[in-house]
């Protein structure tokens, strides 16, 4: 995809070129803005493995969608939501320790997904795009889709912010105080599922969780309230997207991994920053 950019430049389609970068930037930033606050919950609730599992399993959905010739974007969201529901159900059953359960599902669905993709060779499939993202091929309709989903997630997140926070701090206290903790948790998981579905285009299933947790972890260092951390996380995510796209643009690095690498550098810089006394 980086070559594609280079070729585009050579053919002097500069306007199209600008569109590519602009679309990629807009898509990346809308996802980072929502992934920031949502990622805070992933960190606070120790759900990073949960997010990973959700992302990996969605690849199986993608593979099935390709096999059945379904509309891709709808199929990805559908499979993310379906696997989110399945994970919620299994978690409630508590047949196995949660991390064991997630480990089984994450890797077996990834394996099945790769197998299904390999047998559907009648279709041209760019496996790398699904695994590591394909930000620079974002089209106008992709962008519309991504922005709409992020907007919906963002609005729901703002409306339910205090309630999500209450069930995260203490589930039973929140229940006694009148909150439907199970339903709120399910809603939070579905928001994460939707975000993972649309972010797949940006960083791919293998790197998605990092977009949720690295900016949040970096923001923790400089915040004293949950809201500060959410805002800081969104800003860190945007910086990572811009930095990563810059790297990709100037040094021809793959966009998805460049974004994650930038986020990591940002995280390290924030953590090396000397603090003024112990908070």
């Amino acid at each position: 995809m980086v070559r594609l950019v280079a070729i585009t430049m050579q053919t002097k389609e500069l306007i199209t070129m600008a569109d590519f970068v602009l679309y990629a930037l807009l898509a990346g930033i809308s996802i980072a803005v929502v992934a920031g606050p949502l990622g805070c919950f992933v960190v606070w609730r120790r759900m990073s493995y949960f997010g990973d599992t959700l992302a990996h399993s969605s690849l199986l959905g993608v593979a099935i969608a390709i096999l059945l010739n379904l509309q891709m974007q709808v199929a990805i969201i559908g499979s993310c939501l379906a696997f989110a529901a399945l994970l919620l159900l299994l978690e409630k059953k508590q047949a196995l320790a949660t991390d064991t359960l997630l480990g089984i599902i994450a890797h077996s669905t990834l394996a099945f997904g790769l197998i299904v993709l390999s047998i559907s060779d009648r279709v041209q499939v760019n496996l790398n795009a699904f695994l590591f993202g394909d930000l620079l091929t974002v089209t106008r309709s992709d962008l519309f889709w991504i922005v709409s989903c992020c907007l919906i997630c963002g609005v729901v997140l703002i409306l339910f912010w205090k309630r999500f926070l209450a069930i995260t701090v203490h589930r039973e206290l929140a229940m006694i105080e009148g909150l439907a903790a199970d339903r709120l948790y399910a809603l939070l998981v579905f928001l994460i599922a939707i975000l993972i579905a649309v972010a797949m285009k940006i960083v791919g299933v293998l790197l998605i969780t990092s977009l949720l947790i690295i900016p949040a972890a970096a923001a923790r260092r400089v915040s004293n309230t949950p809201e500060q951390m959410a805002l800081g996380s969104a800003i860190a995510g945007c910086l990572a997207v811009m930095g990563g796209l810059g790297l990709s643009y100037f040094w021809d690095t793959p966009a998805g991994p460049s974004i994650v690498a930038t986020a990591f550098v940002l995280f390290i810089v924030v953590y090396l920053k000397p603090t003024a006394g112990k908070r």
């Binding site: 609730r45 923790r220 004293n224």
Partner: protein, 261 residues
């Protein structure tokens, strides 16, 4: 239901996977009454608390609550992820209306200085008071305290139990308290319920425990007293199924004083 009756449980039974956790539990709590629930580990104290709180539907029996009953709950402990930046003020505001007067609330539990402190950095005793403040923030009719003095040193425990008594008097709310420290809580308790899957015995704690000197004595000798107490509790487990009487808890305390007095 009576006007002052907050909750009324009749014949509560709970099973987990075929194992009987609670059976035939009757429980009434009135406005302004302090009921203490004691019993060995695995006696079903927390299960009964969950039934009272409405977190668990019993398999048998009936649970009635006064209309519009507001319950303030203080969990055994609260672990807040260090990754979650949360001040005491913010923590308290998670429960009630956003116009909640956190200052007054903290004054009531004597920790005004902790307003801006991060919750994840609180000591055991500070955390318990913050949790108590949270339970009070909704102006409850019934306070449910699950081992409120856990992780608090002995002097802190006495202070905490005194505070709970003051709060009960000020708010005239009912209190259901789970506690291991029978000797420390006796003074303020109206009714003690000895639980070991069923109610072994219940009644008023003995008269002598209201003497401040008695409390001071047991404050110093907490460890020994509790050891004896636990021993006798195991004993009462052996005679499980004995007819419900009022002597069991007094009997424990008598032995405790006798052996060490």
């Amino acid at each position: 239901m009576d006007r002052d009756l907050l909750i009324k449980a009749r014949g509560i039974g709970v099973n987990f996977e075929g194992r009987q956790i609670l059976s035939h539990i009757d429980l009434e709590i009135f406005q302004g009454q302090l009921v203490t629930l004691i019993g060995p580990n695995g006696a079903g104290k927390t299960t009964l608390v969950r039934v009272v709180l409405g977190l668990l539907t019993p398999d048998e029996g009936q649970m009635e609550r006064a209309q519009g009953l507001k319950i303030g709950y203080m969990p055994q402990k609260l672990f807040v992820e260090p990754t979650l930046p949360l001040t005491v003020e913010r923590f308290l505001k998670l429960a009630g209306p956003s116009a909640l007067d956190v200052g007054t609330l903290l004054e009531e539990v004597r920790i005004s200085h902790l307003l801006k402190q991060q919750v994840s950095r609180l000591s055991g005793g500070e955390m318990q008071r913050v949790l108590l403040a949270r339970a009070l923030s909704r102006k409850p009719h019934l306070l449910v305290l699950d081992e409120p003095a856990q992780g608090v040193d002995v002097n802190g425990q006495i202070e905490l139990y005194e505070l709970i008594n003051i709060i009960r008097a000020d708010h005239n709310c009912g209190v259901l308290m789970v506690s291991h420290d029978l000797h420390l809580v006796m003074a303020g308790t109206d009714e003690v319920i000895c639980l070991n899957q069923h109610i072994c015995c219940h009644g008023k704690p003995e008269h002598v425990s209201t003497d401040p000197a008695y409390l001071a004595l047991f404050g110093r000798r907490e460890a020994e007293t509790l050891a004896v107490y636990t021993h006798h509790h195991n004993h009462s487990h052996d005679i499980k199924g004995a007819i419900i009487g009022e002597a069991c808890c007094d009997h424990h305390a008598d032995k405790g004083t006798h052996n060490h007095g």
